[in-house]
Structure formats: structure tokens, C-alpha cells
Amino acid sequence: MTELDLWSMLFVFMLATFVGFQVIQNVSRLLHTPLMSLTNAISAIAVVGAILVTGEQASTTATWLGAVAVAASVTNIVSGFLITDRMLRMFRERGKKS
């Protein structure tokens, strides 16, 4: 990989971490449990890597490992988003008063 690209990746990492800290600190305390399951689903972005490895079919072992990784990630994606939404649907605002 080009030297230059290492540095741009470090930049992305640094900035993304800043964004992460700021964004998470603003998450309502009410929603910390949904937050856990949502970040969970998001970090299942690992599926991207898994797909690439599986799709390349460089070697049988690689493909196998990749396929398992795909299955694992997809599980996280599906369950993560579904359960988060399920939890959030329960949060209702009171009509009036208080």
C-alpha cells in the first residue's frame, strides 16, 4: 500500500474518533441501552471485509473463513438493527402534563 495512504487512514481514524466521542456524549441517557445495540449493529460493518475475502476466492480456506465471517457479521447486522428498533418503538412521550 502506498505510504501516503497509511497517513490518510490515520487521519480518518483520528477524525472518526473525535466524531465518535462528541456524538456519543450527546446521546440521551434514556437511550444508552439502544445505543449499545446500535453501535453493535454498525460495527458489523466488518461484513465488508468478510464479503471481499469470501468473494475473492483466493483459496478454499480463505473462502471458508470469509463465509463464516459473513454469517457472523450478517447475524449482528440483522439482530442489531431489529432489536434496537424494537426497543426504541417502546419509548413514548406523554400526551401533555409534566
Partner: protein
Amino acid sequence: MTANAITQISYLLAAALFVMALRWLNHPKTARRGVLAGSVGMLAAVAGTLLAPQVMNYTWIAAAAVIGIVIGVPLSWVPLTAVPQRTALSHAFGGLAAGLVGTAKYLVWLDHGELTQFRTGVIVLEVLLGFLTFTGSLMAAGKLQEVIPTRPITYPNQNLVNLSLLGIAVVAGIYLVFDPAFSPAFWVIVVLSLLFGILLIIPIGGADMPTVISLLNSYAGLSAVAMGFVLENKVLITAGALDGSSGFILSVIMCRAMNRSFTNVLFGAFGQVQAGQAAVEAKTVKSATPEDVAELLQTADRVVVVPGYGMAVAQAQHRIREIYDQLTKRGVDVKFAIHPVAGRMPGHMNVLLAEAEIPYDALVEMDDMNPEMAQTDVCLVVGANDVVNPAARHDKSSPIYGMPIIDADRARAVVAIKRSMNPGFAGIDNELYYLDHTLMAFGDAKQVLGDVVKALSEEVAAIH
């Protein structure tokens, strides 16, 4: 070129949507939009990847995806009490995926002799974090599900052993960077990180698992970041960093609210203290029947409910909802005081009460509620213990001294519902129960509250 461009655009879009998803979690009103944004982003990223030129065969992918869906959908139906286990489990999956991809990449590049030092270095990181998270999270899930003994499993100079294992793995890693082709070193790392994940968790008490899974959450994020460096993929780095910071912040919040340090959580074998201190000296408490409680509640103007872990165990939130309805019908002002670490995971109480359809604007954070406690007629403590223990304010010798608490004791009258005089998570006695203006209603929270509701509704019946 164009294919690649599409892929890259989809990644850019996905990253932006992930950030927005988390931003929209800052208020329940917009939160569901956040989930939508997140899933759209994920779809975009997946679609973009499938279009990438490297991807030549889809059958395996499709098959694996189907399996994933088949496992994933039911996993999303778990009862809310099992959410911590589910979270731990999915960290395990995340770690596994990272580890496997890293391994696959290592093998492929090894064949093609494309292992640069940089690549090897980041692969080592990815594999280490990935597999460590995998076994560690499995352990955590096991303890939370109580299929594994939840008490800390300790043995002489444990930390020494663990650290030396980690040391060996690191050495192997460094060696591998200088001689990437020496695959034995790689397998050593794999095995050691799997082992290390287990050894790291077993000495930690089951009740500390929430903090642990938050930490594992950030490890999972970091392993995704490492994967991003391996595959030179920026959306992986971004999403991983978001996940990593989230896990980190949550565990900090928990430690702070329990006023303990990371090291204490990770190496303190805290659960033992619990076991140790469970003995309670005999002091006198006033106990009350559900009818007394009902009486007390409906004569009050302001009632504050403090839910705790016990409410979760008893699944008593729906009874609480009924009481809330009964009292508000009578014009009593009912609020809920939520402690940041009430229950066993951050936001635990909020989700349960929301499940019982209690409006979230009746849920008040500790810091906003405490000032109003003195003007409160009745404070109803439902299965909460440590988070209302006044010792945290004044008793320097107490293990929870300094932990911010809800000042239940400052209310005009306190009603505490629990099954016994047993201590809570911290394993210490709670002087709140012995105060003159405190009434104990012993029994399972669901049971007791059910009787209270009955008493209240009979009241109504009587009136008409």
C-alpha cells in the same frame, strides 16, 4: 474505475449515515430515524462491496448471509432482560469475524508472497483484538446467562500468568512483523489471544459484566479499525472508531457512577467482596403490608419511584405502570428517579419502564431529581439498593463511598420493596432500610406491587 467509484461513494455515504444515526440517538423523538439511517448506510456499504471488482463469486456469500439472517432474526426477539447477553454474544460474533478475516488475509498474502511488514503488523493487531474479543465476549455472555459460574474464578498470581501470556503473544507479533513468512508465530498469536480472552474474563464477577461488555464493545470496534487498515478500507475505520469510542465512553460512565476504576473492575475480582459481606447485623426495621403502602401512596401529593435491579429481576415494570395510572388518575404527581447505573446495564431501567409504556418524560435523571427529594411525600424504592444507599454520601469506610446516589432518605416517607434484607450488587448493608421514616414491604416486587394495585383499585370501588 466506475465500479470502484460506485463502491467508494457507497462507503462515503455509509460512513456519513452511521454518524447521523448516532447523532439522532440524542433524543427519543429522532432515535428511530437513527436506526433507519444506520441500516440504509449498512445496505449501501454492502451493495457497494458486492459491486467491487474483487468480488467474483456470490454463492458462498449468499449462503452465509442466509445463515446469518436465520440466526439473527430470532436473536432480536430475546426478552429485554436478556439484552446484555445478546450484546455480549454479538460482540463475540464481531470479534470472530475480524479474527477470521485477518487470518484469511494472512494466509492469502502468505501464498502470494504479498506480506509487507505493515500488513503483517496490522493483521497481528486485528487477529489479537478479534479473537480476544471473541472468547472474552463468549465468557461474558455465559456469565450473564449464568451457564458459567458468575462468581470470580481466581487462582494464585493470576494476573502474572495472564500478563505473561499477553507478553508472549506480543513478542510473537513483533517477531512476525520482521519475518512475516514465519507462520508458526502467527498461529501462536491466534491461540494465545483466544486463551487470553477467556483468562481475562473468568476472574471477573458476573455483576461486573456490563462494564466488561462495554469494554469488549470498544475492543470489537478497534478490531474493525485494524481490519480497515488491513484492507485499506475507510468505512471500516470510521465505523470501528465510532463503535470503539461508544464502548469506551459507556464503560467510563459506568465506572464513574459506581465510582470504581477500570483496573478495579478488571482485576479487582469484585464479586468476592459481595460474597464476603453478605452477612447483615440485626437491626430493627418497620415492615408494612401492601395495603399500608396503598394507603400511604394515595394520601401523597408527590411520589417518586426509584426502580433498581430488583424490578428487572421481578419483571415488575407493568405493575408499576398500573400504580402510576391509578395514582395519576387520583391527581398524585408521580415521577421516576433513574440512577445512571441502576440495574445491570446503562439505561436498563429506561428500557424496562418504556416497555411498560411509561412516558419517557416521566423518567427524571438522578441529578435533576435529588434537589426535589425533600419536597417528596413518598419515595417508593422498587428493588433498588446500592443506588439509594446513604452510606455513599457520608461513610468513608464504605466500598461505595463517593458513588453518586439518589437521596431517597430525604423524602418524607420511604417505602422499600425487596425480598429480604440481603444486600445488593455491592454486597453491603443499607442503612436506608433502618430509618424511622422507612417502611419495608418484603416480597417479590411483582407480587407486592400487584397487591398494592389491588388495594388501590378496591379503594376506588369502595368510593363508588
